[in-house]
Amino acid sequence: MTQKSPYPYWFFLPAAVIFLGLFIVPTVASFYFSLTYWDPFEARFAGWDNYVQFFSEPFLIRGTLNTLFFAFVTSVLKTILGLLLAVLLTSGIFGQSFLRSVVFFPVLVSTIGVGILFQELMHPTEGAINVALAAIGIDGPGWLTNPSLALFSVALVDVWRGVGLATLIYIAGLSTIPNDYYEAARIDGATRWQLFWRVTVPLVWPATTTVIILSLIGGLRLFDLVWAMTRGGPGFSSDVLASVIYKQYQAGFWGLSTAGNVILFLLIALIVAPLAWWLNSKELDA
């Protein structure tokens, strides 16, 4: 039986107006503008030209693969490291609250600041990382200047920056697991490994779902960190969809970049919606 809302409908009106004006109208308008040649002075109807152009953009395939690679790598690392850190930081080790703050701290720092900082740290000859490596006799690579390494370096920085949030979600998730399960398992003679694998992991699954979905969406639409660290370079080697789109906007091709945004929106929806459904279906009734 559906419960009748205690509020009259006009209570929803202010929120509905804001939602319509700031979200629905621009979204619908963006579908229209993606079909035009649009610059500050006019919008000429272009049919599907922008979509055809976007899909024939030689760097788009590379950008798409890079985006998927980036989202996958960062989600996996954030999930695994986040869970392990959360287990460590709920185990009652010395200085636990201090360490929790340390892990969470990078989340609070401006992404652009993080990007610029690591751009300096990763300088091939003068950066702190390679200077430290040189001190122990290792010839460090060009983290951001080697085309096959640049995207991976950005991904590592993104994990460093984002793992705190994953850890926080996991800590919240772990605290909801009743101690009874662990006690019962221990009485049955479960090892520490079995406790982790058979009790913690299944019961913390809702947190895992949240972490994966959030970091996947974050990874697919990532822009600021890539732009601050490499601007998609060297050449196009660390371009992601969002940076390709931004470059079209910067060149004044507003219609084309809007088409790119529609494509990015569809891509995220196509990947995340089924994944969310699948992950949720695996949740246990705890």
């Binding site: 040649y37 610059d39 030689p58 300088h123 060297p234 060149a251």
Partner: protein, 424 residues
């Protein structure tokens, strides 16, 4: 009592009247030191002559972000009375005949250089802008003491240039060629500054290119710019950190002699003058050499200009200010503020007797007929936005010259279609 009241009223009215005739002109300029130097000097000189007119100078970022600010403010009618912006293909993208006020009727228009005027004109014979900078050369800055030490001559052909590089690589531990790809725009010089050589071999290239008939990939003279970049990379002549170095590093290297050749625009001399004033005369300049000694000349960049938007409410006052900019007096104010980085394109505007060495290396090209050619972006509205990424790829050995030229042709096609140019 009554008389006193009347005289007070008269005074108040008189004050009010001055308030009306005093005028404030707003100006939007980009954030380079050269622009702020020029406009500060110009507005001070103008106010000294016309005390009624004061100015409000607003600064905007440069690059793509600045393009968006200028276009958005023009489109929404929020533009200042006067604004600074590039000439050439970027100027054309502002749709001048729909957004700007023609300045054909200012008395000093005749003082302006003819090839400059072509870059601030629409198709109907209207002119829109007055320059506030010197013309620039795009070519190669070099470290003079190293040349003297090794007994090298300024190269007249590309082969001589490569021979000099070989000598430098062999006899010193300096980098023969400096590249700075953290600032990606700096990677384009070998291609863009090669345009004099393209034009000397294919005189009709710019028109055919605009008409979608000539391509970089299929015109050997045009493709050569990419090939030269590849050649320099493959010979191992680049500085070790070329991927992480930025423009300031490049300027430092060529001034101090850590590197010997830096392909660059001559506006960078202002940076050397600011950061390394003692070393300014250690830096010389030559045009990017081509195939033969007989066709040696300089690719030039025409200066940015000041324009008046149609939405200005002070058009006549703004025109009078632009007219002042086009006078030798206005030009002298700019030169005294910024020094001389190249020829000023205003007639009767003399450069000081002592100019930096690289500037005096550049002036002879301007003084001889046929030894300069404007860069392609001043001859054609067609310019692809991805060139700087492609040249980084060629200069880093990620992609070869031919494939980069083909991709650049595709990029250019995209730009022309987005702009709605005919024939594309």
């Amino acid at each position: 009592m009554k008389a006193r009241f009347t005289s007070l009223t008269a005074m108040a009215l008189a004050l009010g009247a001055t308030g009306v005739s005093a005028q404030e002109l707003s100006i939007l300029i980009d954030n380079t030191p050269a622009s702020s130097g020029a406009f500060t000097a110009l507005t001070e000189a103008y106010t000294a002559k016309n005390p009624d007119v004061t100015f409000d100078i607003e600064v905007r970022p440069g690059g793509g972000e600045g393009d968006n600010i200028v276009k958005t403010r023009l489109a929404t009618g929020e533009m200042t009375d006067i604004f600074s912006y590039n000439s050439g293909s970027l100027f054309q993208a502002l749709r001048p005949s729909r957004t700007l006020v023609p300045i054909n009727d200012i008395p000093n228009l005749d003082n302006l250089n003819e090839s400059f005027l072509q870059t601030v004109a629409d198709g109907d014979g209207n002119y829109y802008g007055v320059p506030y900078e010197a013309a620039m050369g795009g070519g190669i800055l070099y470290h003079v003491p190293t040349y003297e030490e090794l007994g090298l001559e300024v190269p007249q052909t590309w082969d001589e240039f490569m021979a000099n590089n070989a000598a430098i690589a062999e006899q010193t531990d300096k980098a023969p060629v400096i590249q700075t790809y953290r600032d990606t725009w700096t990677s384009q010089l070998f291609v863009l500054a090669d345009y004099y050589n393209v034009q000397s071999q294919e005189p009709g290239f710019a028109d055919a290119y605009t008409a979608n008939e000539a391509k970089y990939a299929t015109t050997p003279a045009a493709q050569a710019g990419f090939a030269r970049l590849q050649e320099v990379y493959e010979a191992g002549y680049l500085n070790e950190d070329f991927g992480a170095a930025n423009f300031d590093d490049g300027v430092r290297m060529v001034a101090t002699g850590e590197g010997v050749h830096y392909p660059m625009l001559t506006f960078s001399l202002a940076n050397i003058e600011q950061n390394y004033p003692d070393l300014i005369d250690d830096v010389g300049f030559f045009a990017q050499p081509g195939e033969s000694v007989d066709a040696n000349g300089l690719t030039i960049w025409l200066p940015a200009a000041a324009y008046i938007p149609q939405t200005s409410e002070n058009v006549e006052a703004a025109k009078d200010f632009l007219n002042f900019m086009a006078s030798s007096e206005g030009c002298a104010a700019i030169v005294s503020a910024n020094g001389a980085t190249g020829p000023m394109l205003v007639e009767g505007c003399e450069l000081p007797d002592s100019v930096p060495r690289a500037v005096s290396d550049m002036l002879p090209y301007f003084n001889e007929e046929g030894r300069t050619a404007p860069a392609l972006e001043f001859l054609s509205p067609v310019k692809g936005p991805a060139l700087e990424q492609l040249t980084v790829e060629v200069g880093s050995g990620i992609r070869d010259a031919q494939s980069a030229a083909e991709l650049y042709d595709a990029d250019v096609t995209k730009q022309a279609r987005q702009l709605g140019l005919p024939n594309w």
